[in-house]
Amino acid sequence: MNQLIGYLINGIAVGCIYAMLGSGLVAIYRVTTVVNVAQGTFAVMGGLIASSALSFGLPHGLGELVGVIAAGILGLLVGKIALTKGGISPISSLVITIGLAVAAYALEVGLWGSLPVSLAGIRSVLRFSGVAIQDQYLLIIAVSIVIFIGLWAFFSKSYIGLALTACSSNSYGARVMGIDVRRMGVIAFGLGGVLGGLSGILIMPVQPLSFNSDINLVVMGFAAAVIGGMTRFEYALAGGVVLGVVEELIAGYWQARYQLEVALGIVILTMVFEGALNARRGTAAWR
C-alpha cells in the first residue's frame, strides 16, 4: 500500500512533466497545426543552459530562470524558421523542426558533451510511515499546478491568450480581425519553448538528460497531448498524468524496461481509435 502511494506520487510527477511538454505541443499545434518535433530539444537545452548558469555561480532560482528564458527564445527562433512567410504545409514545418532538433545536437554535444548532465534540484527526501519520496517530485507537482493555473489565466484573461485561442478556433476569422496568424504561431512556439524548458529543468535533478533524450521527451509529450486530442491543455494534463502513473506502475510491479513501449502503444491505439471516431463523425466536416 505504502509502495503504491510512492509509485502514484512519482507517476503523477513524471506525468506532470509529460503534460508540460504536451501542453507546449498543444499550444503550438492549436495555432499552427504543426507538431513540433523540437519540443524535447527545448527541455534539453533549457536544462543544459540552466546547469551552466548555475555552475557559473548564479544562485538557484535565477539560474533556472535563465534556462527557461533561453528555451523561450529558442522557441521563438524555431517558430520563426518553421513558419515561413509564404506559408508551407504543416508537414513541411514538422520536417523543419526535425532539422532544427538534429542541428541542436551539434550545439549540445559541442558545448556539453554527449554524456547525461544532471542538475542540482532539491536533494532532500520526505519520509512518512515507510514511504520515501524525493522532494523534487513534490516540487514538480507543485510547480505544475502553478503552471497550469497560469496557462488557464493566460488563455482566458490576456489579450494575447485570447488571440491565440481565436487563431486556433477560426484562423480565417482571426485574419479578418486583423490578427497576424503567423506571428501568433511564432508566439505559440515561444510559449512551447518556455513550457519545454521548464519541464527539462524540473526533471533533470531526478533524471539526467543528454542531447538525445529529446526523442523520448517529445514522444512522451506527444503521447500526453494526443490523449488530450491535441487541442486542450487540461486534457493533456490528464493524459500526461495517466501515462506517468501507468509507466511508474509497470516499472514498479512488472519491469522497467517496457515502460516506453507500453506508453507508446497506448498513444498509437489512441490515435487510431480517435481517427476511426473522426472518420465516423467526419461527414460533418464535409459541408
Binding site: 461527414t283 460533418a284 464535409w286 459541408r287
Partner: protein, 263 residues
C-alpha cells in the same frame, strides 16, 4: 414528370434522401429520377443542399435516410472508388488536377477502373501491362484530341489556366467510359468565354448520348444545357420541369429573389 421521360429507362434514382448536420437540415426527403440520355440540372441558392446531394450520390457522404440507386442497383454498399468502374463518373468542384502529372497522365488516371494490371505486373512490365498501357494511351489521345487539348498534352495540368483544368477534369472522367457524368459546379470560377467553350463540349457529349447531371449555381449555364431541371431550396425539391417552366414558376422566383420581388 412528362411522358417522354418515362419511356426512357431510368439511370439514377434518388429516393427520399434526408441529411442533417447537427441542427441544420441540409436535405429533407429529396427524390428525383434521371433517365438515360438526359441532361439534368440541379439548381438552388446557396445552402439549398445541392452539394450535400452531390456528395451523397458520389458516395462521399452517407445519407441519414433514403437511398440512391444507379441502373436499378442500390449504391448503399459501394465504396466511392467503385463508382467509376460502374460507369458513373464524378467531377468534384474542389478536386484539383493531380500535381506533377501531365494533362495526358491526368486523363489516363480516369481510365483506372477500365484496366486490370496491378503493382506486380506494372513493376515487371508484363505483356498484359504493355497491351493495356498502349490501349489507355490511345484512348487518352482520342479524348485529348476531341477536347482540343493536343497542344498542351504534355504540360503539367496544375499550371494551366482554370478553364483548361476543368476540361482536363472532364477528360479524366470521360477516360473511364462513363454512362452518367456527374458534374459539381462545372462553371464556377470560369470566365465568360471559358463557360461557353465548356457548354459547347458538354452539348456535344449530350448529343452523343451521354447522360449528364449538373449541379450548378450559374442558372444561365444550366438553362442552356439541361432539358429538365430540379430546383432545391432549403433542402427540399420545390420544382421540377423544363427550363421554361422553371423560369415561370412563382415558387422558384420567390426562392431566388425573395418574397414578392415583382410586386
Amino acid at each position: 414528370m412528362s411522358l417522354t421521360e418515362q419511356t426512357r429507362s431510368e439511370i439514377l434514382r434518388v429516393d427520399s434522401v434526408s441529411k442533417t448536420f447537427g441542427a441544420v437540415r441540409a436535405l429533407h426527403d429529396v427524390s428525383l429520377s434521371v433517365s438515360e440520355g438526359e441532361c439534368r440540372g440541379i439548381i438552388g441558392a446557396n445552402g439549398a443542399g445541392k452539394s450535400t446531394l452531390f456528395r451523397i450520390i458520389a458516395r462521399h457522404m452517407s445519407s441519414d435516410s433514403g437511398h440512391v440507386s444507379y441502373r436499378g442497383k442500390s449504391l448503399a454498399h459501394s465504396p466511392a472508388h467503385s463508382l467509376a468502374g460502374m460507369g458513373l463518373a464524378i467531377v468534384f468542384q474542389e478536386a484539383l488536377p493531380f500535381q506533377d502529372m501531365t494533362v495526358q497522365e491526368n486523363i489516363m488516371v480516369g481510365g483506372h477502373s477500365t484496366l486490370r494490371h496491378g503493382f506486380l505486373a506494372a513493376m515487371l512490365k508484363t505483356p498484359s501491362r504493355r497491351v493495356e498501357e498502349n490501349e489507355i494511351r490511345t484512348r487518352s489521345w482520342e479524348i485529348i484530341d476531341r477536347l482540343g487539348l493536343s497542344d498542351i498534352a504534355n504540360e503539367h495540368a496544375q499550371e494551366l489556366p482554370f478553364g483548361m483544368q476543368r476540361l482536363v477534369q472532364i477528360g479524366r472522367a470521360l477516360c473511364g467510359r462513363p454512362r452518367l457524368l456527374l458534374l459539381d459546379e462545372p462553371a464556377s470560377g470560369l470566365r465568360f468565354q471559358e463557360r461557353n467553350a465548356l457548354a459547347e463540349v458538354l452539348k456535344k457529349l449530350i448529343s452523343e448520348g451521354l447522360t449528364v447531371m449538373l449541379v450548378e449555381h450559374d442558372v444561365r449555364f444550366v438553362f442552356s444545357l439541361a432539358e429538365s431541371i430540379t430546383v432545391l431550396d432549403l433542402g427540399e425539391v420545390i420544382a421540377e420541369g423544363t427550363p421554361q417552366e422553371i423560369r415561370e414558376n412563382p415558387q422558384v422566383i420567390e426562392a431566388y429573389l425573395g418574397t414578392a420581388a415583382n410586386a
